[in-house]
Symmetry: C2
Subunit: 479 residues, 2 copies
């Protein structure tokens, strides 16, 4: 029984056949440190990978550099260029076989100066973050009476009051997917009824006067009005004032604008496959972040989890049968621009992808993986993930994979989303609080362990996760 | 058995004597609403007070007005004057027998414009709040290399590095009392070694990029250097950068200054005692707040808990034997200036105070009371508080009472601190997150219930809590 087959056989069957004992005696030649002599060590691949990951601070240390020394990395900006330079250097030093960048063209959104102030009934300043893609106000800002609503439905029922007003959406938190609709589509919904600007309560379930930004989009047919997130605290106060009949007025000034396209880059690194270098297992995070906080959980963590996992295999001398390709995408926060650029540049090799994994749910304790692929593949991944049970990271279910890998998944590549126990994620998400102090080194190491174990199993498996050469056979079949 | 005696007898003895049944049949004449006819109702005073408080939203509604409509109320400012005007009107409308203001002279501290920016190794903005009483910087600010230390001890051991630097204290949270020493005394400790400014990690055990301000004081013999709190996030990042050898530089600009004394006011309201109007039970909160957030827990809550408790007794027709005096102090946040002014103005009546209660631990679920008085008084208060057991508010222990009533307590008046289950208090304390949305109406009502019950017991008790007329006999005896 070879180490490759344990993946295919599955843990239960392996145990029945006494494979576990055999595995414990299985010997590979591996070098644990670059420059050291290769040593022969007995190991169980999964548990050995897990143990090595849990004893390693590499991902944590590099994530600290990225967050603290580079800082926030808004797509297309000078800081993102600094992050890309750091990324190339770091990936090279980590010993990947090849490291390169691939161009991504993207419109450059600039925040500019921004402020908002209640001018009536009593003046007070609002804490805000303009939303990504928003237009700015005229110089000096816009002042108007506020219309506070809790939902799209309430806006529709009060549509006659919206003209000439600034609409504030103050929706109760009902989970991210439900609540983020106001951030994404609030401005055009308000513009449809003649509003001159739109404010949105920050999309979070916990606030200490913390604003949360994020992407918005305009409907083509409607006027583009400026839009910003304000804090839960300010939104609540304005709603209460309005309910008491105070008719608040707000002056909003935003210097936001979108400049012509600039060139930026995805960063790619590879460990060439030992036997089938033409087969690719892609693992990705996104290097860009919002310009507030330092992009620690979103998504410095995903970059270091995937890269840290691949590097760990290298360090352990576990070069897998297939190629492991790490991609750190640009401009995920602006709707996956980097992911689409990668897809376009790699259209001719789609039949080479065994799977694509994306890690973009922070460095909270690992849970497992959600999979966009047919049920046979989900079942194989469930088997591969069983050794992660002790990490409480063995949950594999059908579900969303990731924004960046979506074009690949739509083209038929099995998509795997790395999942964490992210109950606190939205406390930090897109806010100044998404910083390195929120990263628990032990949880980060457990994520590296989980992803390294699964990537190794996929890249090493005797039979590929799906029939290679059929990538374009069923485009969009997983969505 | 009279209702007054139940307090003295204690719950256990009362139960043994069947007093509880008698109390249930005890009848008083009381009007439950101004303008309605007095009605005769059977009641148990404590439980009737508690039930009435739990069904009443008065305190919550008024606290909403204070926080949302008046907003932050920095001592001596125009907003504090607006709060005082609101207070007088509200207390009058609540039906107190008399409402008046008493002058408080205080130096006016102005925050001015303030910002801080790391200039090296990579520029980024710091989120800060200048500390109350701090001087400002010269125009354009001060730029210097940072010396990051975790403690006074580390500063002393690195004293030679401090000259010409900005010292950042980044102490680990070890409870408020221990950690706040850096806010209060960090600047002079740094100035002693030639530092040009001082930054302090915000004094809190939880942060979402939230700065926390508060009072500081200068040692007379040392240069006054500007000082501000920065967020936990920024402080941690700077410490990590320094540990990695990055030698951060910071430019700090603060427009803070202290203007000559201005006149402001404490606000006082009274329910005259039914039989002994000359005996005073004082209950207090402080009306001033910091200029960030809206002073909801600190200490709008204490104002409305004490006042709401007294008003509730009025509404129930339970005018107690002794006078209940509500004081809403000015300038507690600047070291209890209002409390000292009140004491000076009332020196000639110190022998009239039966007790002084202060509520300044927010509107979290009630816990009980901590008492600065001799053990006999603590025991009597424990007995009086027993009916609060169902509210989980019956804990009475020796301990700190309050900043504002401290001069009274030092002069021998029994001091009572209202205590809540304030585990989350420092998440909000002195920060933009101390806002009305953090107030739980049910917890607030329970606090009103607890304070009203205790105040009634003290003001109604057959025997006063201490021998009246002996107030100045043992000055300072409780500290």
């Amino acid at each position: 029984v070879s180490s490759k087959e344990f993946c295919r056989l599955g843990w239960r069957r392996a145990q029945r056949h006494g494979v576990r004992m055999l595995l414990a005696l299985f010997v590979v030649c591996g070098s644990t440190r670059a420059g050291e002599d290769p040593v022969a060590i007995p190991y169980d691949p999964a548990q050995t990978i897990i143990d090595a990951a849990l004893g390693d601070t590499y991902a944590y240390d590099r994530l600290g550099e990225l967050c603290d020394q580079i800082g926030p990395r808004l797509a297309g900006t000078e800081r993102m260029r600094a992050a890309i330079a750091w990324a190339v250097q770091t990936l090279q030093q980590a010993g990947f076989d090849s490291v390169w960048t691939e161009p991504v063209r993207l419109p450059l959104w600039e925040r500019g100066e921004e402020w908002a102030r209640v001018t009536s009934p009593e003046p007070f300043d609002l804490t805000l973050l303009g939303l990504g893609n928003s237009v700015g106000t005229p110089p000096g800002g816009i002042e108007a009476a506020l219309l506070v609503v809790e939902s799209f439905e309430e806006l529709e029922s009060r549509a006659a009051e919206a003209a000439g007003r600034i609409v504030l959406f103050n929706p109760t938190w009902r989970g991210y997917g439900e609540t983020v609709r106001y951030r994404g589509g609030g401005a055009s919904a308000a513009a449809r009824h003649g509003a001159v600007a739109c404010l949105v309560r920050s999309v979070t379930d916990a606030s200490l006067a913390t604003p949360h930004t994020g992407m918005m989009t305009y409907a083509d047919s409607l006027p583009k009005i400026p839009t910003a997130a304000i804090t839960v605290e300010d939104a609540g106060r304005l709603q209460r004032l309005a309910r008491r009949g105070a008719q608040p007025r707000v002056r909003l000034s935003m210097g936001a604008r979108t400049l012509p396209e600039v060139e930026s880059f995805n960063v790619v690194a590879e460990i060439r496959g030992r036997e089938k270098p033409e087969d690719i297992v892609l693992a990705a995070g996104h290097l860009d972040s919002w310009d507030t906080g330092t992009g620690a959980h979103d998504d410095g963590a995903g970059c270091l989890i995937t890269m840290g996992a691949a590097r760990l295999l290298l360090q352990m001398g576990l070069r897998p049968r297939r190629t492991l390709r790490i991609v750190w995408y640009e401009a995920e926060e602006f709707g996956g621009i980097g992911g689409r650029a990668y897809f376009q540049a790699h259209r001719d090799e789609l039949d080479r992808y065994v799977a694509a994994l994306e890690s973009d749910s922070g460095a909270f304790p690992p849970r497992g993986f959600s999979v966009q692929a047919d049920s046979t593949i989900v079942q194989r991944l469930q088997t591969m993930a069983r050794p992660l049970a002790n990490l409480e990271a063995a949950e594999v279910q059908p579900g969303w994979s990731g924004v960046d890998i979506r074009p690949l998944v739509q083209a038929g590549v099995p998509g795997i989303g790395h999942r964490t126990r992210a109950d606190d994620y939205f406390h930090y998400h897109h806010s100044p609080a998404d910083t390195f102090d929120k990263i628990d080194p032990e949880a980060l190491a457990r994520n590296v362990a989980a992803v390294a174990t699964l990537l190794y199993a996929i890249a090493e498996a005797d039979a590929p996760l799906r029939p290679i050469g059929s990538a374009t056979a069923a485009p969009g079949s997983h969505e």
